[in-house]
């Protein structure tokens, strides 16, 4: 019999409850999920003809194409956002730069964050036209605002001693940033970047509705044609993909914490039980006293007969 450890059991129960809950809500509200016609979104499109082999036919489906495009948009937006937000985060940190630098920099970061990515998507669709480019630009701007804030908060929270030593040495701001601040806060910066990717995948599904690419484009399309059963199928696919990315993200982030030195997880650790079974919990009454050689419970019972 397969033994499942407690953590995995809890994870499986949580995921099952979530999926069932989502399914039940959809079923109660519209009965759409039971309409298997909606699942045609994972069948290959009739045009262009699918050249993939029999087992990979699903890669020609709108659900796959849309989801992959959304993930690509999220990857690029996170990458460009990280590149742009890091200098902004450094310039906004009050422990590195004077107020006349931090205030304008923070204003720019706040401005990027002030509008949700959906509104940025509308703006960029107007500027550069329909398609994923608008999505990438919109989410890059929002990433700068969001990630920039998280970064300068992490930098301001770092230990002041390395900065003091570096400043006393006479290192330039660029050297302090590159050789002291970034390595010292690297764990936070990487964890935040992974979180932002996860966030961008979620918001990437929405921006397609205004024509900025990704799976949202297909959702919008089928909404217009009143094919709600297909929309429901897309929503369920998004839910599962986001859940999967969340889990991988939690796992990846666990590598970048101070505790990871001692409790570094394995790749299989997120989904599978550990190879070595945990030691069985022995009831204190069954433990053997090393001095007397009798069971602790028996000893207690013998010494306190009234209790039993």
């Amino acid at each position: 019999m397969i033994r499942i450890n407690r953590e995995l059991r809890e994870l499986l129960v949580s995921v099952t409850v979530l999926i069932l809950g989502f399914w039940i809500i959809l079923t109660l509200t519209s009965g759409l999920v039971w309409d298997w016609n909606g699942w045609r979104v994972i069948e290959p499109q009739s045009y262009p003809p699918c050249e993939a082999n029999m087992f990979l036919q699903f890669t020609c489906s709108t659900a796959w194409i849309g989801m992959v495009e959304t993930i690509k948009i999220a990857i690029l937006a996170t990458f460009f956002g990280m590149i742009l937000s890091l200098p902004m985060g450094l310039l906004s940190s009050r422990n590195l730069f004077p107020q006349y630098v931090t205030y304008p920099s923070r204003a720019v970061v706040s401005a990027c964050r002030s509008l949700p990515s959906l509104i940025w998507a509308i703006i960029f669709v107007i500027i550069v036209g329909l398609g994923p480019t608008a999505g990438i630009l919109a989410m890059t701007i929002y990433t700068v605002g969001y990630l920039g804030k998280m970064q300068y908060e992490a930098i301001e929270g770092m230990n002041s001693a390395p900065l003091e030593a570096a400043n006393a040495m006479g290192l330039t701001k660029a050297e302090v940033s590159f050789w002291v601040v970034i390595p010292e806060t690297a764990n936070h910066l990487i964890a935040q970047m992974i979180f932002m990717f996860e966030y961008n995948v979620r918001s990437g599904t929405v921006i397609g509705i205004v024509g900025a690419g990704g799976i949202g484009y297909y959702i919008n399309l089928y909404l217009k044609f009143l094919q709600y059963e297909r929309v429901a199928a897309y929503l369920l696919i998004i839910f599962l993909v986001v859940l999967l990315i969340d889990l991988v993200s939690i796992y990846l982030r666990s590598f970048f914490t101070d505790e990871s030195e001692n409790t570094k997880p394995t790749w299989s650790g997120v989904f599978l039980p550990p190879k070595d079974d945990p030691p069985e919990v022995v009831n204190i009454r069954d433990r053997i006293d090393p001095v007397t050689g009798v069971k602790m419970g028996e000893d207690n019972q013998a010494s306190n007969p009234q209790q039993s």
């Binding site: 230990n159 001693a161 390395p162 900065l163 003091e164 030593a165 570096a166 400043n167 006393a168 040495m169 006479g170 290192l171 050297e175 050789w179 002291v180 390595p183 010292e184 690297a186 764990n187 101070d258 030195e261």
Partner: protein, 238 residues
């Protein structure tokens, strides 16, 4: 023979490295420490002692240019505060060491070396400093995996690799065992005597401070006084 006597030679050209006049150090306009006049010459090791919270670290930070004095003048290598002395002049070993925890020993030592040398010399200086501190086996280890004593040796190696004209050290021998402490003191004193650098150190252990310093000053009642006897320190502490 004391460790101080082990120093090979005194630099030929003695010059002022630190000059302090009418200095008031404190926080929120409340003076903590007042110094009328203090000069530290090249090749000199000055030790400062006194009870906790009396302003020793604040004085070091003020000399390092990290704290703005309430009033008065601080001059390091002819650069008057708030003007900064040339790059790499000051090597500061904070009480908390100030190491980059996620970087390796080598990266941390190179940081000091970068501040003080041209690129061609920096690798050699770093290697020498790591050897002097006996850290050659830990060279690629991240700081967070080292013990407290090893981390302290890395901080000292970083300062030695920098080759500063002024070393400011805050309790730099704490957490070190007797043998390692001797080795560290010997390396630092060797550097001070050969380079003509000055050193200002804060030390709680009076016997050790007397052993390694040329001058020992005590902070008493917000002022710097020359050390007289151990009894006087006990009185100050009580």
């Amino acid at each position: 023979m004391t460790k101080h006597e082990k120093r090979n030679h005194v630099p030929k050209h003695v010059s002022e490295v630190v000059r302090i006049r009418n200095l008031e150090v404190g926080f929120q306009k409340q003076p903590l420490l007042s110094i009328e006049s203090l000069i530290v010459n090249s090749g000199e090791v000055l030790a400062i002692t006194g009870p906790s919270g009396i302003g020793k670290t604040s004085l070091l930070k003020t000399i390092a240019g990290l704290l703005t004095p309430l009033s008065g003048l601080v001059q390091v290598c002819e650069a008057t505060s708030p003007q900064k002395p040339p790059r790499g002049t000051i090597g500061y070993i904070p009480q908390k060491l100030g190491l980059v925890r996620h970087s390796s020993v080598w990266a941390n030592v190179m940081l000091g070396s970068r501040a003080g040398n041209t690129k061609s010399h920096s690798r050699e200086q770093s290697n020498n400093a790591i050897l002097a501190m006996g850290l050659e086996e830990k060279r690629n280890e991240p700081i967070k995996r080292l013990s407290g004593g090893q981390q302290r040796r890395v901080a000292i190696a970083r300062t030695l690799a920098q080759r500063p004209k002024l070393i400011l050290a805050d309790e730099f021998l704490s957490e070190l065992d007797e043998e390692t402490s001797d080795r560290v003191v010997e390396a630092v004193m060797q550097y001070v005597s050969s380079s003509g650098a000055a050193m200002v150190l804060v030390e709680h252990d009076i016997s050790r401070a007397r052993e390694i310093s040329d001058r020992l000053l005590v902070i008493d009642d917000g002022r710097l006084n020359p050390f007289i006897t151990d009894t006087s320190i006990m009185e100050v502490r009580s």
